[in-house]
Amino acid sequence: MFKNNVQLALMLGWQDVRQSYRRSPIGPFWVTITTSVLITTMGFVFGLLFKIPYKSYLPYLALGILVWNFISGIISDASNLFIGAADLVKQIKLPVYVYVIRLLWRAFVIFLHNIILIPILFLILQVPMNWTMLLGLLGLILVVINLGWIVVALGIVATRYRDFSQLTTSFLTVFFYLTPVMWNKDGLSTSVVNLLVKYNPFAIFLSLVRDPMLGEYPTLRTWVSALVMAAVGWAGAAFISRRYASRVVYWL
């Protein structure tokens, strides 16, 4: 039963990706093209503004944008978790995790299409590759574990309170600027910036994936924060799910 459900979730997620690009020969690589144009433009403008050499700024920015798009895409889709699948929810009994895996898988497939930019960029700029990069994979897994509880909790709450979808959108816009996606904390070490980087969950997620890719080790504090968030978050999500998952269909 569990195996069938996971297969179903992966299939639905895959169909979602295909659906968006069905009659386009380039398909999901459109996102890759858009992202690379964005990164090149922003890299040019902000590289000039911040006076950072491209060779170090472009990889930083590219990874920042890619990981941010992955995270923010999942969170903004989360408020639509059940609303977007209303006809399914109203007709068949499926466990919540089917919808969650479907969403995560869809976002991950798009992310994989985008991530091919990184080796290309690293080759062009001749950024040295090293083994720390593998740690980025571990970081990504921890980030996805955290996104999981956010999707469960937000998906359920946003079905009942429809304003959450708008709220999430503005929240994410604000955090795009509050998080070191395109700006770098180095040389800006005021107490405010420190606060933004230390206590901002998005900054923590970003650091776990991006830092190893750039050959740096995320601090122990960052790892522990993410683990604690995952534990507390999943406890909360489990509570919400146990209590309200069966009500979701009535809220659609």
């Binding site: 179903l8 639905l12 659906q19 399914l88 109203k90 068949i92 269909v249 009535y250 809220w251």
Partner: protein, 247 residues
């Protein structure tokens, strides 16, 4: 042991977009289908099922009668474990399969073949099972090479044949149906009827919501009549049908 037992089951469906007190009051005066009432927080609530007690054992074929809005679909959703009861208990033992919306999840942009997998997996079949039965399904649907074209290019009949061929691959212990399925032209109808009969005969318990006296007479061993979310009659078809349909 396949068994369905509903005890004092009530289902209240909240309506969240009607918040005004005035509207609440106004709506309660014109109650037609389910009974309207106000929840604690002032939202309008439709009592779709009201204090239903029903015990169904292995072998029974239950016909559900009632006017539009009487609660037939809600009852089927409770039996399909989509709706959790607001009050009371629903104990449903057995694998439930539904033929209520056989087109659910069909993606018009995807090919017939892809849709076989989409539909099959939504029905709870494993990928391996679908692969094994793939040739059967395609042959039964009589779609030939059309199976590799997007479903949006299909005629309504072809669409229904595909949906029917996949949906009838399930082998549930408790079968739910909203009106008897009948698809295709005369020739196909015959074939479909035989296949559906096989599925119905294989199920331990069947629920059929219908407006057709004929169909219920032919298929069911027991009939319940719903009115405003309550069971008003429950008995043998020979007793209940004359009361409900008159003579």
């Amino acid at each position: 042991m396949v068994h369905v037992n509903l005890t004092n089951l009530t289902v209240d469906v909240p309506v969240y977009n009607t918040k005004s007190r005035f509207l609440t009051a106004a709506l309660m005066d014109v109650a037609t289908g389910g009974r309207l009432n106000a929840a604690k927080d002032g939202h309008v609530q439709v009592r779709a099922l009201d204090d239903i007690s029903l015990e169904v054992s292995d072998g029974e074929r239950v016909g559900i009668l009632g006017h539009n809005g009487a609660g037939k679909s809600t009852l089927l959703r409770v039996l399909g474990q989509v709706y959790a009861p607001s009050a009371g208990k629903a104990s449903i033992r057995g694998k439930v399969g539904s033929l209520i919306d056989i087109s659910l999840g069909i993606n018009p942009e995807a090919t017939g073949l892809e849709n076989i997998f989409i539909r099959g997996q939504l029905l709870g079949l494993s990928k391996a099972t679908i692969k094994r039965k793939l040739d059967d399904i395609i042959a039964f649907s009589e779609l030939g090479n059309f199976i590799n074209l997007p479903v949006r290019t299909y005629s309504t009949g072809m669409h229904m044949r595909l949906a029917f061929a996949v949906a009838t691959e399930i082998r549930p212990e408790i079968l739910l149906m909203d009106e008897w399925l009948s698809v295709g032209d005369e020739e196909f109808k015959h074939k479909a009827e035989a296949r559906l009969r096989g599925l119905v005969d294989g199920a331990n318990i069947m629920f059929l919501a219908s407006h057709s006296r004929d169909m219920i007479e032919k298929t069911c061993t027991r009939v319940i009549v719903l009115e405003h979310g309550r069971i008003v009659h429950d008995g043998l078809p020979s007793e209940i049908l004359p009361i409900y349909f008159g003579s």
